[in-house]
Amino acid sequence: MIYREAGQFKTSYASDQAVFPIVQDRVFVLAAVVAAFVVPPLVAGDYWLQAILIPFLIYALAAIGLNLLTGYAGQLSLGTGGFMAVGAYSAFKLTTAFPQLSIIAVFLLSGLAAAAIGLLFGIPSLRIKGFYLAVATLAAQFFLIWLFNKVAWFTNYASSGTITAPDRTVLGVTVTGPNAPAAARYVMALAFVAVFALVAKNLVRGRIGRSWMAIRDRDIAAEIIGVRPLRTKLLAFGISSFYCGVAGAELVFLYLGSAETLAFDINQSFLVLFMVIIGGLGSILGSWLGAAFIILLPIFLTRLPHSLGLTMSVALQKQIELMIFGGLILFFLIVEPHGLARLWQIGKEKLRLWPFPH
C-alpha cells in the first residue's frame, strides 16, 4: 500500500535513472537525512551521541569504503585497519604541522594519503586473487601498524606514543578535541558520511562502478570487452582506501580523542569486513545495516537483561551477549547469505505488490 507506485510515470531518462526512482524512497531517505541532522543533536544525550551514534557513523563510512573494494570490485582486503591508521596518523601530522588548515581539508587530505598507500598495496591485486590477495593485504595491515608503532616521528615523538586530537573548529564551532560538544562531532561525522555515501552510490551506478562489477564477475571477460584491469582495480583500492582513511581520521578526531596503534589492529579489519559481509556485499545500504548490526547490537544486547529487570553478573551478561550475537550472525547468514540488504530488498519487493501479490 505504502509502496504503491501507481501513477508514477518515468517520462525522461533522468527520472528513470534517479538514485531513488520510487517517490516514497526519495521522500523517506530525504526525511531520514534531515531528521538525522536535526533530531539527535537536540534530543539525544551525550551517551547516545558519543558511545552509539558517532561510532556507528564512522564505521558506516569505513564499511562503505570496504564495500566498494570487496563488494563491488571483488577484491578481498584485510588491510582496512591499516588504511584507517594511515588516515588517522596523517590527519594528526597534518593538523599539528599546519594548525591553520581547516579540519575538513585535513580529513580530505588524510583520505588522499590513505588512498596513495592503498594504491601501493593494491598493486599485488593485478597478479593474485581471492584468499591470496587477502593475505597480501594482511601484510599491509601488519606493516603499517608496525611502522606507526616503530617510528616516533608519526606521533611527534610523544613520550606516551599516542596521538591526541587537538581542538579544531569549523565555522567557529569546536568539532574535535575534548572540548568539542558531542553534538558538534556527531553532525560533523554525519555530514561526511552522508556526502560520501551519496558519492559512493553514484560511483557504483556509473561507468566506474560498472567496470568494477565487470571485473568482479569475470575479470577475463571484462578485459575482453575493454575494461582495463590495472586501472580499474587500482582505482577501487584508491577510492576504498580514501574512504577508510577518512573514517580512520574521524575515529581519532571525532570519536576516541586519542589513540594508539592498537586502535587499528587486525580486529578492526575483521570488524569492517564482517559489517560488509553481514550487511550485504555490493550494497551501499548493506554497509549501513552491517555497521548498525555490528556496532549497535552488542550494546543493546548487553543492556537487555538489565532493562528486562534481570540481575546477573556482568561476566555472565557478556558471555550471553556474545552467544546471542554469534547466533544471530549465523542465523542471518543462513537465512540470507546475501546479507541484510538483500532481506530489505526482498521485503521491499513484497511491499510494492502488497496487498495484491501475484
Partner: protein
Amino acid sequence: MTWRVALVGIVALAVAAGPWVTRVQAAGEIFIPLLVYRTGPYAPNGIPIANGAIDYFTLVNERDGGVNGVKIAFEECEDQYDTKQGVECYERLKTKNPVLVNPYSTGITYQLIPKAPVDKVVVHSMGYGMTATADGRWFPWVFNFPMTYWSQASAFVKYVAAQEGGMDKLKGKKIAHIYHNSPYGKEANPTLEELARRHAFELTLLAVDHPGQEQKATWLQIRRLNPDWIYISGWGVMNQVAIKEAAAIGFKMDRVVGNWWTGTEVDVIPAGDAAKGYKSMNFNAPGAGFKVHQDINKFLYDKGKGAGRRDGIGEVLYNRMVVNAMLNVEAIRTAMTKHGNKPLTGEQVRWGFENLNLTEKRLEELGMKGMMRPLRVTCENHEGNGQAFVQQWDGKKWNVVSDWIEPIREVVRPKLEAAAVDEAKKLGYTMRDCAKEK
C-alpha cells in the same frame, strides 16, 4: 515465516527498549563506576581486581555504614579491557553522576584524561596511565599515586645497584628491558635510558608485540646478549610466556624482575616450578594476613556476600584493588572534612584527592598497617611520596624480599615536569598556581 517475523520483532523491540531503562541511583549515595574485565583475554587479571573493588566498597557499606554515613553506590560494566568498550561503559555510567573512576587500563585512561576536567570526574590511575599526569599543576583531575612507572623503573635500578654492591657497580652491567609494544610498555624506557647514561650501564630495549604470545625471537636475543638483569613490562598472557621462556633458556630467575603488573599469581603459576625465584616490583604487600582481610572474611564471605572465591583474597591484584578502593574512600573522607558528610560532587572529591594525607596511624585503624606506605598527595605532586619493594615467588606464594625503595626522584621529577608541559600543551591546558589553591 511467521516465527521469523516474530523473532525480528522481538529483537527490534529489545533494541528499542534497551537504552531507555536505567536504574536511578538512590539519593544520598556517592556513585563510583567500576570498569571491569571479567571476560576476554585479560580476564585472569581483571577478576581479582573487580572482586577487590566490590569487596572493599561493600565492606565499607556493611561494616561502617558507608563513608561517614554516606553509602557508596557502584555498578560494574564489562569492557573486556577494550578501549572502545571501556569508553562506552564510562559514557553509560556517567549518567549516574560518578565522582571518580579507576579505569584499570592504560588505553582507557588515555581516553579519560582529556574528559576528566570536562565531565568533572576524578581519574585515579593507580600505578598506571600517563606518568606526566603526576604533575598536578597541569593535570588537576588526574592522580596516579602512590607511584608512577618512571619512579618504579628508577627503584628497579636502585634495587639492582643494591644487589650488585652500589651505584658505581652498575657501570658496564647489561640490563635488558622486555616491554609490551604499546604506550604502557614503553613508559619505563625514557627513565631507564636516562639512568643508563648516568650510571653507564648497557641498556637493551626489546619490544614484544601485542598480545605477546610469540616471544621466541626476543629470547633468542636475550640468549645472545646474556644480560645481567632483565626487567619486564608486560600484561596478561605476555607475562606467562616471558617467564616460561626465561626458564626455558635457563636464565637465572632471581635476576628477572617484572614491574608491578608483571608479578601476579596467574603470571607465575603456569610456569610451574620453573618460575621459582622470579621477582617483581610491588607497592602493596601480598597475602591475606592483614586485619582488613579478617574483616572482609567476617563481614562479607562468612555471610555469603563476597564477590569472589574465598581463596582469591590476598592475591596480588586483589590486594592492589583493595588498596586502591581504600585510597578512593579515604580521599572521599578527606573531602568530607571540608565539605561535610553528604554526597559530594566530583569537584569536591578532587579536593579530597589532592589533600589526601594517609598516616601510619590511619593505616593501622584501617587494618592495613604494612600493606602499603603512608602517603601524602599535594597539589603539585599527584604521584605522592610512594615507595616500592621487590617480591619473590617461592613456588607457592609471593614473599617480600627487599625494604621499601625510594625512587630516584631527582632524576624522575624534572623529566616528568618536562613531559607534563608537552602533554598538557597538546590538550591546550594552562598551568595553575598551586600557591593559590587552598
